[in-house]
């Protein structure tokens, strides 16, 4: 590598990383749209004021918990209970945020506090599987920006449209986020046999929790418990170096 390319690599402007982030965040934004529209539609049928529905997407920005909250509002639940439920549904972000923190050394607290708002299941998946050990702040900002806009704009569109979208198109688009998760996990488990085994353990745990006949465990807890369980077992069992090929 010549001196010039080294210098270029070091001093690439924030704009370059920001644009790369925007590009990488695009699939997430596409995946969010139909879910956000559905959220808008449902919150209208649940009797939530239009402004409150859009504000919720703007301020909370956490899909599953917003659907749960709207259901609880429709059922006439008390607000403290809704806030408590939201807390537990979103508690899994602790893990994701902790994992992403490994890739953001040396950033100022201000940057971290801002980027933290954009940690979702999907942005975490993108950032945590990134091959780089260190991610530029502007890149992360780019990754979370379009999904955030899509989530908010989609919610507003859903409130306005109220279920007039062709159902088949909407149903097809709901595969988008799963396709993205698969697109991210395949290269991970292809390159490392211990990661493959951990993924299979998590799959087994998730299925067991989901289909156990004894307890109805919420989706948030299922994800948290299977993730922690499988990662912990992985850390205990696979102590040797598992070099990426």
């Amino acid at each position: 590598m010549s001196d010039k390319t080294i210098i270029e690599k070091q001093s690439r402007p924030g704009k370059y990383h920001f644009q790369r982030g925007l590009r990488d965040g695009l699939p997430v934004a596409i995946g969010y749209l139909p879910i956000a529209v559905t959220f808008g539609v449902i919150s209208r049928t649940a009797g939530l004021p239009s402004l409150a529905a859009v504000l919720m997407s703007l301020l909370v920005f956490a899909g599953a918990s917003q659907f749960v909250a709207v259901e609880l509002i429709a059922a006439g639940a008390a607000f403290p209970g809704i806030v408590a439920t939201t807390f537990f549904v979103n508690l899994r972000h602790i893990l994701m945020s902790a994992t992403v923190s490994e890739k953001l050394p040396g950033l100022s607290r201000g940057w971290l506090a801002m980027l933290a708002f954009g940690i979702t299941d999907e942005s975490f998946s993108l950032l945590a599987t990134d091959r780089r050990h260190r991610l530029p702040a502007f890149y992360v900002l780019g990754v979370i920006l379009l999904p955030y806009l899509a989530w908010t704009a989609g919610s507003a569109a859903g409130v306005v449209l109220g279920g007039q979208l062709p159902g088949m198109l909407e149903s097809s688009m709901e595969i988008a986020l799963y396709a993205m998760f698969l697109g991210l996990i395949v290269p991970e488990i292809k390159s490392s046999s211990s990661k493959l085994k951990v993924a299979l353990i998590a799959l087994a745990l998730s299925s067991l929790i989901s289909w156990n006949p004894l307890h109805n465990i919420s989706q948030g807890w299922r994800i948290t418990l299977s993730t922690v369980g499988a990662a912990f077992l992985g850390a205990v069992i696979f102590t040797g170096d598992d070099k990426d090929e």
Partner: protein, 100 residues
């Protein structure tokens, strides 16, 4: 609407704190090798739990969902871009729902 503002503020706060605290605090702490390995295994474990069994209910039909999932796996295996993976999977599910 005013009572909703209180609700939304509460929801926003309890969602933001679990996102923010680990990011701000842990970025200043050096983890032990065990916890580093634990963190290394979080992404494949979390992705796996996020995908399954939720994907089975992703669309109106289980078969369409499986077709879309299989398409995604194949395209990802052959290193297509994430955007291509997502778009072709959507298309596959759309066609599948059309056929059945």
């Amino acid at each position: 609407m005013n009572s909703f503002i209180i609700l939304l503020t509460g929801m926003a706060l309890v969602t933001y704190l679990p996102r923010m605290l680990p990011l701000v605090i842990l970025s200043e702490i050096e983890l032990s090798p065990f916890w580093k390995r634990f963190m290394l295994y979080i992404p494949p474990a979390a992705l796996s739990a996020l995908i399954f069994p939720g994907i089975l209910q992703a669309t109106d039909s289980v078969f369409a969902a499986l077709a879309g999932g299989l398409t995604a796996v194949l395209l990802a295996y052959f290193k297509f871009s994430l955007l291509a993976v997502v778009l072709v999977s959507i298309l596959t599910v759309f066609i599948f729902q059309f056929l059945i």
